[in-house]
């Protein structure tokens, strides 16, 4: 009797509910224990929690930054500077490895035995060695080949010394922060005007007359404003003075190793993605296109690449996210990326919990933004089925 009522009571729905309740209870218990210990530990060490530390003076110097920075800036700004450094590296590596990966991937399935052999060894080395070792190796290699005494000239206007590589750069007359802000603002306005034009075209069936002119006008006025303020934009060539270099843009050995090492590593993976993409297009597509009289280049551009994109965009998305993640490895050689900055800020202020939350939030934000962009791209290349 008892057994039967028992069975009736534990219906599947009730059992499911009980499982979930237990899971939630366990989670809450774990969180409660952690919060209790953490707050006790924090109280013991006299650490206060809160976000005020973000506005405090940072007080440490960074060797190289892409956004203007001095130790007098706030902790919040130094974190943004760190994110900027990470994104600059990731952007450059993404661009370079996509281009190189395209060539290496094509060369690998091409006819030429020399090209495909070299591409194959590139891919195998990149895929089977830890990126952190590539960085350490490159860094010590660069450290040994850089001239110890005076700066040497590599090419016209490209100098090399113990401090790194110096290349010509554009000189900005006004504070870089405002230039950056202005560029972002103008870019946003151009995007907005494009959106408005598309909207109007959809409504009225005709492109508005101002559509092609607005972006030109906006960009033109931005450049005009830039050139009118201060001395205008000019080229800034590096000049050697003994072991030192003045002017130009100096790429430190750390930055250089990071970009070259990560590009080498990522190219190996991108090449494999490109190769899979190319092989996924059936050879009948090539034959059909040739028999329609299309040239090899137009076949590639109009027939093969659009079909290939569908296969390669999702894995390329994860490669781009991997670049952002792998750029943290630079901690082994010392370039002020986001994680290095966060480590220093947490060490100096002891705000470990807030720092951890900032780290998690930042990476989530970067990943989600990247995925959103790539998903948009992915949707645009999908076959539209009716």
């Amino acid at each position: 009797m008892g057994e039967i009522t028992h069975r009736h009571f534990w219906t599947r729905a009730r059992r499911d509910l009980a499982y979930q309740a237990i899971a939630l209870l366990l989670l809450f218990a774990a969180v409660a224990v952690i919060v209790a210990t953490a707050s006790a530990n924090l109280a013991d060490r006299g650490i206060e929690t809160g976000s005020e530390f973000l506005t405090d003076r940072a007080g440490f110097s960074l060797s190289e930054t892409w956004l203007p920075y001095s130790p007098d800036n706030s902790n919040l700004w130094v974190i943004i500077v760190g994110i900027g450094n990470t994104l600059v590296v990731a952007g450059i590596v993404a661009l370079l490895s996509t281009i190189l990966g395209l060539f290496v991937g094509i060369a690998r399935i091409g006819d030429n035995p020399l090209a495909s052999g070299l591409s194959r060894s590139w891919v195998e080395i990149a895929r089977n060695s830890p990126p952190i070792l590539l960085l350490l190796f490159l860094y010590s290699f660069i450290g040994k080949v850089l001239p110890t005494a005076d700066a040497a000239q590599l090419m016209p206007h490209v100098l090399v010394s113990q401090r790194g590589f110096a290349i010509p750069w554009i000189s900005f007359p006004i504070a870089g922060k405002w230039v950056l802000l202005g560029v972002i603002l103008v870019f946003a306005m151009i995007v907005a005007s494009g959106k408005l034009a598309t909207h109007q075209r959809k409504q009225r069936g005709k492109r508005p007359m101002w559509a092609p002119w607005t972006p030109i006008l906006l960009a033109g006025s931005a450049i005009f404003a830039l050139t009118m303020t201060g001395d205008g934009i000019g080229a800034d060539f590096p000049i050697a003075s003994g072991p030192n270099i003045q002017g130009g843009l100096i790429l430190s050995p750390e930055f250089f190793s990071l970009v070259v090492g990560l590009t080498f590593y990522t190219t190996g993976f991108v090449a494999e993605i490109i190769r899979t993409g190319l092989l996924s297009v059936p050879s009948g597509q090539w034959e059909a296109s040739y028999s329609l009289g299309l040239s090899r280049w137009r076949t590639l551009r109009l027939i093969v690449i659009p079909q290939m994109l569908r296969v390669i965009i999702p894995p390329m998305n994860s490669q781009y996210i991997n670049i952002v993640k792998n750029s943290t490895l630079v901690i082994a050689i010392g370039y002020a990326d986001f994680m290095v900055v966060m480590g220093t800020v947490i060490n100096k202020t002891s705000h470990a919990i807030e720092g951890t939350l900032i780290i998690i939030a930042t990476y989530l934000l970067i990943n989600l933004t990247l995925s959103a962009v790539m998903n948009r791209l992915n949707r645009s290349v999908q076959v539209i089925e009716r």
């Binding site: 210990t37 530990n41 091409g110 070792l133 350490l136 050879s283 090539w286 994680m339 470990a352």
Partner: protein, 355 residues
């Protein structure tokens, strides 16, 4: 270039000379690459072989040579591989390395998946522990003295070994019909995958001391192990989930129809098929994990790279870092490349028609 290869190779492969010089563009490519090799290879060979220092493996050999200082690697290979493990006992970590690699290779074969596997793992890890730490019949070696390759391999193998069962549970939880369980699993997996391993290691090393009471606070080694374990289980679970998705719905329905419980259904019908589908992806993830273990360097663990750096600190030598890093890269390369070749062979055999 692309087209001809993908078409012609199926019918009849072109001879070597035709592939190298068959068309103007191929001649150009061959000439350019041959030119690069012509200028890059001789200095490389001079540095690495003809001008390099080998024997006798003493600092003086390197000072008189203009090329690579392989004498250093030859003299210090034991220290790079095993860190500061006592000199006379280094056969023990060597045996542990062989044991761990053997376990990894043994376990990825589908024919090994039975209850016995758990015992093999328990036995293998226990044996490694005994060999490394000593005790019954062997001299005691404190864990502070462990270092180099065995540490790298222990971290990899334990993280994967513990991560795999967890990953199965996570994958099942993420596909569960129960919304709370699904949400929790998804949150954990996506959070872990969004963060770089380095930040997970970093968070583990600063947050665990805050979150846990002093008494149960794990040391550096276990903190890194926990971080690697969480990382491995999140990545492996996504691979397994991919396999689960590939199983047709009819398999679930048939299993339920003959009255199997959830656990029986998963263990006997679904998981064996699902994991078989994703073996290539699993071995890829394992290679990624082997490579990722190199990151424990940054939380101050004495892994292969750290022991290489420690060997470089010897003032008698001129600190040949390039050669040392090349040596360590070679070790990783052999591990990863060998493992991926093994996985390829296994995949080919699985594809071969059954007799």
């Amino acid at each position: 270039m692309i087209s001809t290869s993908s078409l012609s190779r199926k019918m009849n492969p072109l001879p070597f000379l035709a592939r190298s010089f068959g068309s103007p563009i191929n001649i150009l490519i061959t000439v350019v690459f041959a030119g690069i090799l012509f200028f890059a290879l001789p200095p490389l060979v001079r540095w690495a072989i003809t001008d390099a220092a080998f024997f006798p493996a003493i600092p003086e050999t390197c000072k008189s040579a203009s090329g690579a200082c392989w004498s250093f690697v030859i003299a210090k290979h034991s220290q790079i591989l095993f860190g500061i493990y006592p000199d006379g006992e280094r056969w023990r970590p060597l045996l542990v390395c062989a044991l761990l690699i053997g376990m990894l290779i043994y376990s990825v074969r589908p024919s090994a998946w039975s209850k016995r596997l758990a015992w093999v793992w328990a036995g293998g890890l226990g044996l490694s522990w005994w060999l490394m730490g000593g005790g019954i019949g062997l001299a005691n070696v404190e864990s502070d003295l462990w270092g180099g390759l065995p540490v790298t391999l222990i971290l990899t193998v334990v993280a994967i070994g513990l991560g795999f069962p967890t990953a199965i549970l996570l994958a099942l939880a993420r596909r569960s019909k129960l919304p709370v369980i699904r949400l929790l699993a998804t949150l954990f997996i996506e959070m872990t995958r969004a963060l770089p391993l380095l930040s997970i290691l970093f968070i583990a090393s600063i947050m665990l001391p805050l979150m846990l009471p002093e008494e149960i606070l794990p040391d550096k080694f276990f903190r890194a192990l926990i971080a690697l374990y969480l990382f491995a289980s999140a990545y492996l679970s996504e691979v397994i989930r991919g396999g689960l998705q590939a199983i047709p719905k009819g398999q679930f329905e048939a299993g339920e129809a003959i009255g199997l419980s959830f656990a029986q259904l998963q263990a006997k019908i679904i998981l064996p098929q699902a994991i078989n589908v994703v073996i290539p992806a699993l071995t890829n993830t394992i290679i990624v994990m082997i490579k990722n273990t190199s990151l424990v360097l940054v939380v101050g663990l004495f892994d292969l790279i750290s022991s290489g750096k420690a060997a470089l600190a010897d003032p008698e030598w001129s600190s040949p870092s390039i050669e040392t890093y090349l040596f360590i890269t070679l070790i990783y390369f052999i591990l990863c490349f060998g493992f991926s070749r093994f996985a390829d062979r296994m995949e080919q055999r699985a594809k071969a028609p059954v007799k």
